[in-house]
């Protein structure tokens, strides 16, 4: 039996990413102070990322897309799969806090009043069983 919980909670298949008028790198400058141009594409971030197998773009590709102003990066699943574990930030040889860049990319979307997660899909049983910290952090990361 298919339950509401098995329904997809994700919205991003619907291409909800808002239109960004300026250059991505300029928009991100207001949200984070990371030197994204410093990335030399070594892939250390991708190698240590726990969710890389599920991602459509690897974290280093996300940075490359930003540098090249390829705005389709905002429709990538990668920025939502990042769980802010800081493994990439810890290991980046160029000292780029990629975790913060991912958050800035999410914020670019969320601040246009777009929700990534549909909270209606949660069942009563899940609300009872799953730790509260999971809900608060998901809502903080994915709800605009």
């Amino acid at each position: 039996m298919s339950t509401a919980a098995e329904k997809d909670c994700r919205h991003n298949e619907k291409n909800l990413a808002p239109e960004i008028k300026g250059r991505l790198i300029d928009e991100l400058e207001d949200l984070c102070e990371e030197d994204i141009f410093g990335c030399y594409q070594c892939g250390t971030c991708a190698a240590g990322c726990p969710f890389v197998e599920e991602m459509d773009l690897t974290p280093d590709e996300v940075l490359r897309y930003v540098i090249l102003d390829k705005k389709e990066v905002l429709n990538s699943r990668t920025i939502w799969l990042c769980s802010s574990c800081f493994a990439c930030a810890e290991r980046c040889p160029r000292d780029i806090n990629i975790t913060v860049v991912m958050e800035a990319l999410r914020q670019l979307i969320l601040r246009k009043n777009v929700d990534e997660t549909d909270i209606e899909c949660l069942t009563e049983e899940e609300k009872r069983k799953i730790p509260q910290i999971a809900f608060v952090s998901l809502f903080r990361k994915n709800i605009g």
């Binding site: 800081f86 810890e90 730790p131």
Partner: protein
């Protein structure tokens, strides 16, 4: 016996789905001569630290807790939840590094006093290592966890970002040292510092189950019979989502996940009811009975 009082910040999960973590920590503290005094006033810490440079608003909730702690005359708070400890520490760091940010945040506090920056945030695991000492703890062990092969699991927020870490971000030893003090055998695992999937347990259930499998399976192949961890969300993911991984990976069996406080409580021979084992998907009791540490 006179107890030394510790001001305790619980957070939401300790009062709901992680009551077993709180109950065992309180018992251990008492056994070691300390009593937890819950903060008279506390609120949700926000769980995840605010990361964008312009977002000061989400530092308000953690800072309010630090102000309440100052109001109670404390110089430190003990925290059990890894996510709360991390979030509170990151806010504390931000206001320590930027007087301007502290001033802005203080100006938003209508009823509260200004934050003076005096509160140290201590994770209980740190407290046991630094203030009690594992050697001292070892002396209190009545039932050594002899023959119990345990994989320590740190996850992310105990260790990263390194400015707020309780141990070396890439090569932590605190849990191995604790396990040895309790008489257990440590099974090391390269995935011990990899994220459990965190809040994706809600919107990416299968991916989180796969994470639980990846983290556990390697250690299981090396003989681990149990996992020791400290975060309520890691526990849910490695227990409940790990159990669901059995349906994805043929022949895979999830091993039980213990809070470090549960293992300490058993080794110190404290009231086993506080452990709340009946709330876990993977029942740890058969293993403990097999090892002869519980009846």
């Amino acid at each position: 016996m006179r107890f030394m009082e510790l001001l305790y910040y619980p957070g939401c999960t300790l009062k709901t789905s992680a009551k077993d973590l709180e109950a065992t920590a309180i018992k251990i503290a008492e056994e070691l001569g300390y009593s937890f005094k819950e903060m008279e006033e506390w609120n949700c810490c926000g769980v995840v630290a605010s990361l964008t440079s312009d977002d000061l608003m989400h530092h308000l909730a953690p800072l309010r807790n630090l102000i309440h702690a100052e109001d109670e005359g404390a110089d430190k708070i003990v925290v059990l939840c890894d996510m709360c400890a991390n979030t509170l520490k990151q806010t504390s760091l931000r206001v320590k590094e930027s007087k301007d940010d502290l001033e802005t945040l203080n100006s938003f506090m209508d009823k509260e006093n200004d934050y003076k920056g005096t509160i140290e945030i201590v994770h209980f695991l740190e407290f046991l290592r630094d203030e009690v000492g594992f050697a001292q703890l070892k002396k209190k062990v009545k039932k050594p966890l002899k023959g119990l092969r345990v994989m320590p699991y740190y996850g992310c927020v105990l260790l990263r970002p390194r400015e707020v870490a309780i141990d070396d971000a890439e090569d932590p030893v605190i849990m191995s040292d604790l396990l040895r003090a309790l008489g257990a055998e440590v099974v090391d695992n390269p995935f011990k510092i990899e994220c459990c999937g965190s809040y994706h347990t809600i919107d990416e259930k299968e991916a989180t189950s796969k994470r639980a499998h990846r983290i556990t399976n390697f250690a299981r192949d090396r003989g681990a019979e149990a996992i020791m961890l400290s975060c309520p969300l890691c526990r849910f993911n490695l227990d409940a989502r790990g159990k669901e991984a059995e349906k994805i990976f043929e022949g895979y069996e999830q091993i039980p996940a213990f809070y470090y406080t549960q293992l300490i409580a058993i080794a110190l021979d404290l009231d086993i009811d506080a452990c709340g084992f009946d709330s876990q998907e993977v029942d740890p009791l058969p293993l403990l009975k097999d090892k002869g540490v519980v009846e």
